[in-house]
Symmetry: C2
Subunit: 174 residues, 2 copies
């Protein structure tokens, strides 16, 4: 009956509470709002949208310019979202390729490893500063729930940078 949703599909329904959006819009809002702790891809979003439309959780509107096709929430979509939200969230999943490279670092020329480390450090520094830039606005006007998730992102990025800076010289700067 109630088609059991996956977390990605449920998130899309969550975003659709703010009004009709196209797949493209959903991808970009998801990236900015939950992208730091929930990855999703374009293919996935369109697939979920199609199957949720089949299930009647969502309804496609008329195709606009550039094949733009907005989806809006239906009452049963709303219900399915609430039902999903009630379920115990599962454990987190992390896949961090750099740590694989570091872990097997003994098989790699030290300068090469150090270069990869430096590249990634820079990427995280950039992300942190982006998060910190939006922090005051989110904290002051947003709801506490979104604020908490952004806080997680900031703490995560800070932690990663500290880890980089605590790396022994043999790894970070041979």
């Amino acid at each position: 009956m109630a088609p059991q949703l996956n977390a990605t599909a449920a998130s899309l329904l969550g975003f659709l509470h703010a009004g009709p959006m196209t797949g493209w819009d959903l991808v970009t809002t998801a990236e900015t709002l939950i992208g730091d702790f929930w990855s999703l891809t374009r293919s996935q979003v369109y697939r979920e949208l199609a199957s949720m439309a089949d299930a009647g959780l969502v309804k496609a509107g008329a195709t606009g310019p550039r094949e733009r096709r907005p989806y809006r929430l239906t009452p049963s979509g709303r219900a399915a979202f609430r039902a999903w939200l009630q379920r115990e969230p599962g454990p987190e999943l992390i896949r961090f390729p750099l740590l694989l490279t570091v872990g097997f670092g003994r098989h790699l020329p030290p300068e090469k490893l150090a270069a990869y480390v430096a590249t990634h450090r820079a990427r995280h520094a950039k992300r942190l500063s982006e998060f910190e830039a939006v922090w005051p606005a989110v904290r002051d006007d947003g709801d506490p729930y979104l604020t908490a998730t952004l806080d997680f992102g900031i703490r995560y990025e800070r932690m990663v940078l500290e880890w980089f800076d605590a790396l022994p010289q043999e790894i970070a700067d041979p």
Copy 2:
């Protein structure tokens, strides 16, 4: 020619440097050594092993008791591993369902959210203490590369706990 590996397959080759192992052994070593930042499943390990055997990167030995079938590294497996390790590691992937629940927390009864939060906090506290228990041994005798990855795990878990403890009352304890 050189069959381009994926990270999971490459990790298996990495572990096989320590000597022949069965799929089962590989699953358990991977879980303990890289499980905190690289997830893999049994099905996946056996599939990769089979396809790497086809490609000659790995060679199956004689079946022992309990269908135990050890695989050993071949020279071309060694080469493929090194080649993979040279490649720029990609960005990390995180999927943290609890943060989704928190982010959409406005749609959830506060006590329910608080209960989920508490459950997850306990799980992370447990993991941290497990990591801290093995830390001295790894730091003192292991290689610095493995030590660095465990250090990441510890910092990550500590950060998560701090985040839990910084949550506003409305979320953590309504």
